[in-house]
């Protein structure tokens, strides 16, 4: 069932709307790992992350009709669903309780959602990039990209004036682009 063809974003969305299984397969192959990575950033537990990824795909299946490409890229939309689902799980009572039990089992460790403790991420490439970006630049990017913060929310979180957030976003992205060698 492997798919060799590539779709344009529009074609892919059309096929997803038709419920085409190949399209979901393609979606999984192309976005599954990134979305899974994002979920792990938020919940930090593999077996929960797997359940969430499945829930995300079912949500995509049920909601793809509401997606309009005029409103933004598919990736952005997928990211939003993923983030919301993961955050909802994080806040649910079941998750909190199981988290507590696990903490008891494991002693201290493992309770934080700090990104730095993730065991599964491709550390080599990521570390290189993150160490070259300074902390402030990384924060604005991550808050916007992974957490979906608005400009105002970032300003509040980092205690900065709006104008500074805007220029910092620009400098951070320019630097990131350079670090990733994108022309």
């Amino acid at each position: 069932m492997s798919i060799q063809t590539t779709y344009s974003e529009q074609q892919l969305v059309a096929l997803l709307k038709q419920g085409e299984e190949n399209a979901y397969c393609y979606l999984y192959d192309h976005y599954g790992a990134v979305l899974y990575g994002v979920i792990l950033q938020i919940v930090n537990r593999q077996e929960v992350a797997e359940d969430i990824l499945q829930e995300v795909f079912l949500k995509i299946y049920h909601n793809i009709d509401h997606y309009e490409d005029s409103k933004g890229r598919l990736y952005t939309w997928l990211l939003r669903i993923t983030r919301n689902t993961a955050i909802d799980t994080l806040r649910s009572r079941d998750f909190r309780q199981s988290q507590k039990i696990q903490t008891l089992d494991n002693g201290v460790n493992d309770n934080t959602t700090e990104t730095s403790s993730l065991p599964y991420v491709d550390h080599l490439g990521l570390d290189k990039v993150l160490s070259a970006l300074n902390e402030d630049q990384r924060k604005v990017i991550d808050l916007a990209y992974f957490n979906g913060f608005t400009q105002e929310e970032i300003a509040q979180e980092l205690n900065l004036p709006l104008g500074t957030v805007k220029t910092r976003v620009r400098n951070a992205l320019i630097k990131l682009r350079k670090l990733l060698n994108i022309s």
Partner: protein, 273 residues
């Protein structure tokens, strides 16, 4: 704001991270549609963010993919079967009856069913016919509208081409003493020797009269064609100047169809190059 200033203003980067308001995003998309430079910047940033996202990517366990695809398949099938479920039940009453009774009963039932179905179908047919006519009408409306928009777009594109030509000179003709405050602009391309007339505030001419554009070439007036402010808008292509040094442009009011030489006391605006 020029293109470089726009690119370095930071709006594109904020757009990429989803930090712009919907109005700002729209402006970025419009600029991207107009300028390939901006499109390139956007694409490179999108690649950057995709790449950044990929760095955080974690390959899920291989067993998860079939699991998820199965879940979607189940979801789809349950949607299909729940739609199919409502089927009429078999009536076991018939089996107990004698043959002729069965036939008669069946015939009567068929008749009733056929009457009922017919009336349902007729009303459905009429409804769909109505809807079909509606659709055809709205489709035609859309097609016409689309054609209008296409024509206008072509016009606008043509005008943009004219205005964006770097060789284009911009000659403002100002009102003479008799007509202060009047103004008209000629876009003059000395390379192709073509001229376009735009943005005038000349009044609608009296019946039987029309405006005529002149180029003053080596001291002599040369006819550039007629112009009617009531009918034409935007940069209007005028006649080309075949040869000679163009010194100025002017507009006079002439009889309908134009004059071979300008009526000097009817000059409205003039502008030197």
């Amino acid at each position: 704001m020029n293109l470089e200033e726009y690119i370095s203003s930071g709006i594109i980067e904020n757009y990429i991270l989803g930090l712009t308001s919907s109005k700002e995003s729209q402006s970025v998309e419009t600029m991207a549609a107009m300028y390939p430079e901006i499109r390139d910047v956007i694409t490179s940033y999108q690649k950057t963010m995709d790449e950044y996202g990929n760095l955080h990517a974690v390959q899920p366990p291989a067993s998860l993919k079939p699991h998820i695809l199965n879940a979607i398949r189940r979801e789809r099938q349950s949607a299909v079967t729940s739609a199919k479920k409502i089927k009429p039940k078999e009536n076991t009453l018939f089996r107990a009856l004698h043959t002729w009774k069965r036939i008669a009963a069946a015939a009567i039932l068929l008749l009733i069913a056929s009457v009922v179905l017919n009336s349902i179908y007729i009303s459905k047919y009429q409804k769909s016919e109505d809807r079909y006519t509606d659709l055809v009408r709205s489709h035609q409306l859309l097609v016409t509208r689309n054609q209008t928009i296409e024509t206008r777009l072509e016009e606008v594109e043509k005008n943009m081409q004219v205005l964006l030509n770097p060789a284009m000179r911009h000659v403002v003709m100002k009102g003479v003493d008799k007509y202060p405050g009047m103004v008209a602009t000629v876009y003059w391309d000395p390379q192709s020797r073509s001229a376009y007339l735009a943005t005038t505030n000349l009044p609608v001419p009296p019946a039987g009269k029309a405006y005529q554009l002149w180029a003053i070439v080596d001291g002599k007036p040369v006819d550039m064609g007629m112009y009617n402010p009531a009918k034409e808008k935007g940069p209007i292509a005028m006649k080309n100047v075949i040869s000679g040094q163009v010194q100025a442009f002017a507009i006079t009011l002439e009889k309908q169809g134009g004059s071979p030489t300008p009526t000097m006391d009817q000059m409205y605006v003039i502008g030197k190059i």
